[in-house]
């Protein structure tokens, strides 16, 4: 049981790393960044390519991948989201443009790397088991939990406690008013994309290291889960993403423990439907008010 708890927490940690970035961008721009999964995939590929094909030490490769993914995120903002925003384009247009950009990024990865599945060579830290107090489980699971606590927890803390976080919340409330108050809105939005993309890259690298699953199409599985998570937790809310990730991972784990692993997607989706009937804005989402 202790091992299943650790594995469930590890799954929640991974989901929250991916979903927090997605919901962060949604909070600021009110659009789903459909290219987020492609950035996640590129984060994994940059690290893998640097480490395996160019012999870069793994830690340095991870840093390069995080920087690379951040640059991709900022480019998406500069080339797609910002021009559309400046023209007051409908949100649907930005969503479709992001979808196209995601498709393009996947296609470029297919050209560059092929369509096979790649994996980091097995490393010592992905093997073996660890006990911390009553908890026992694979070392890699503890590693993912630790990274997520630092990164997602750090993001949440920064949003609540720093000036930049206050500025971000002001933009979420009303970008025009925030600009009048002297906040550099465009710069803050670019920074948001950089942070969200860096988090996606960290999730991608973790999947590559632990689950041996680097491929141009690796984003599709987690993307669907992330949508469920941010709807469940409340769209635009980072703590909501954490809570949603914990809820989904808990349901999946309980399903496995109960011998119902084949039904876990059904259980998760049914829960989301029921919750949305009771609370359409999600667990921590704010209700939509009429202007």
């Amino acid at each position: 049981m202790a091992e299943q708890i650790v594995l469930g927490l590890s799954a929640a940690a991974l989901y929250s790393l991916f979903a927090a970035g997605l919901t962060l961008v949604f909070g600021v721009l009110d659009i789903l960044n459909m290219a987020h999964a492609a950035v996640y995939m590129w984060g994994a590929f940059i690290a893998w390519d640097a480490a395996v094909n160019y012999g870069v030490p793994l830690l340095l490769a991870i840093v390069l991948a995080i920087i690379g993914a951040s640059i991709i995120g900022v480019l998406l903002e500069f080339l797609i989201f910002r021009p559309l925003r400046k023209r007051d384009a409908p949100g649907l247009m930005a969503l479709v443009a992001a979808l196209a950009a995601g498709g393009l990024l996947v296609s470029i990865a297919e050209l560059r790397f092929g369509t096979q599945i790649f994996a980091f060579p097995s490393g010592d830290f992905t093997q073996g088991e660890l006990s911390i107090g009553p908890l026992h489980g694979p070392t890699s699971a503890f590693l993912i939990i630790g990274v997520a606590v630092v990164v997602v927890g750090g993001l949440w803390w920064a949003i609540v406690n720093t000036r930049a976080g206050s500025a971000l919340r002001a933009i979420e409330e009303d970008a025009a008013v925030a600009e009048l108050m002297g906040i550099a809105v465009d710069r803050m939005i670019a920074a948001t994309f950089a942070i969200a993309s860096a988090m996606a890259a960290i999730a991608g690298i973790a999947v590559g290291l632990v689950f041996a699953n680097i491929s141009p199409f690796m984003g599709s599985e987690l993307e669907v889960k992330a949508f469920t998570i941010i709807i469940l937790g409340g769209m635009g809310s980072v703590p909501g993403a954490i809570l949603g990730a914990l809820a989904v991972a808990t349901m999946e784990t309980v399903a496995v423990i109960a011998g119902l692993s084949g039904y876990s997607p059904l259980i998760v989706l049914l829960t989301v439907v029921v919750l949305l009937m009771v609370r359409p804005q999600g667990i921590l989402g704010r209700s939509v008010r009429e202007a």
């Binding site: 594995l7 393009l104 296609s107 689950f211 699953n213 084949g262």
Partner: protein, 458 residues
Amino acid sequence: VSGRTDLAVGYVSVAVAKSTDEGPGEWGTEEGGVSDSANSSRQGAVDGRGRADVVWRAGKRAALGGLAVALAVLVVACGDDGGDESEPAAAGGAQDVTLGAVLPKTGDMALLGSSMVQALEMARDDMKDQGYIPDNLNLSWVFGDDRADRAESIRLYEQFMGQDDVLGILGPLTSSNMESVGPIAEKEGVVSYGVQASAPNIPDIGKYVFTSAFTSEDLDPQLIAAAKEAWDPQGVAIIVCDDDPVVQSEYDAFVGALKENQIPISADEKCKRGDLDFRRQLTRIRGTDFDTLLIVALTADVAKIARQAHEIGLLEGKHLMSALGGNNPEAVKVAPEAMEGIINMGGWSPVDTSNPRSVKFIERFTERFGNPPTESAAKAYDGAFMMVEALKRTKLTGDLDKDRAAYRDAFATVQGYEGVTGVISSDGVDGRGVLLPEGGGVVLTVKDGKIVPFEQAQ
């Protein structure tokens, strides 16, 4: 298809490929093998012939991505071309015939599909080099990337049947997609040939639907028998990603064979195709009394599950079996330590030395593409030749409906075709549409990172 304008559009990778080297395995590196309209135009301008006998149709998502770079495509196309994209009339007297292929060159089944596309490319070139196509036939191929997506398979089938007037189509890869397109092909009277569609119900869809895959009932009892002889399993833990008809039929066959051999099933965990984390199910298995882990999943998932099982120490002192994956060199690459010693059934051995055609195919394929062929690639290579072999036996009249019916009859009567996978014969005009090589499957294992027959490794 003389005079038909090459309308394939939007395969986004091509626009990018202009600025990169086209690696081995890409369509469009040689005469007549072009991958899209932009490439077609480019080829026409370069070699002055402008003839395209292969068209690559795009997947929906790739086409969407293509919209984003449509301008770039346009620039590339215009910059290189300036000529007419339409094809010249066929050589006088030759009968125009079009065959199709629908395979996942990209997407989550590309692990198998991409090697099949490579094999088709090789088959097409070999047919030319060997003069395999009679002079009285002006053969064109249309190819489509369905990304293993059912809707895309259907769309491509409808396009090939309705616009390209194909006589027959090779693919799609998966049984689930064959179940979707088979009834459509049957209704239109077009041969649908799923070379690797191994679900037992495929030939029952209709008389125009064919397969060259051994079914799970053919192969899996052999695997259990081999395990029983080698280590006599006392408890088998199963993990099955059962949301796929092939996997479900494999699972049913395995459970039947285990029961028949009175081997206890100690655990029966479910997963989903494409899942990331299987460790929760594997941890649950750890608490059971088993000496053999049986992974029943599609190839890519087998590699992931095996690796995760290895990394949590589940495989220590245990045996590993799988229905699929253990015969795929790319899957072995993903999890070399975990896959060492796995036993797996194959419909063809990638180290077959008994068939000189197979040996030559493996050598040439590996040399050309830099990777060894998979069983799917061998099946696709033979499949392409079978399509043309049947065509050679068809008396064409120029009436499409009659020709399609005649082609189906010819397909159903192919006997003794000597292919890479063995001597292939149809099971008869009125029988089910199954074209299998003589003999049966082979039990394979991984030894020192290489796939070898289990008999040799023991």
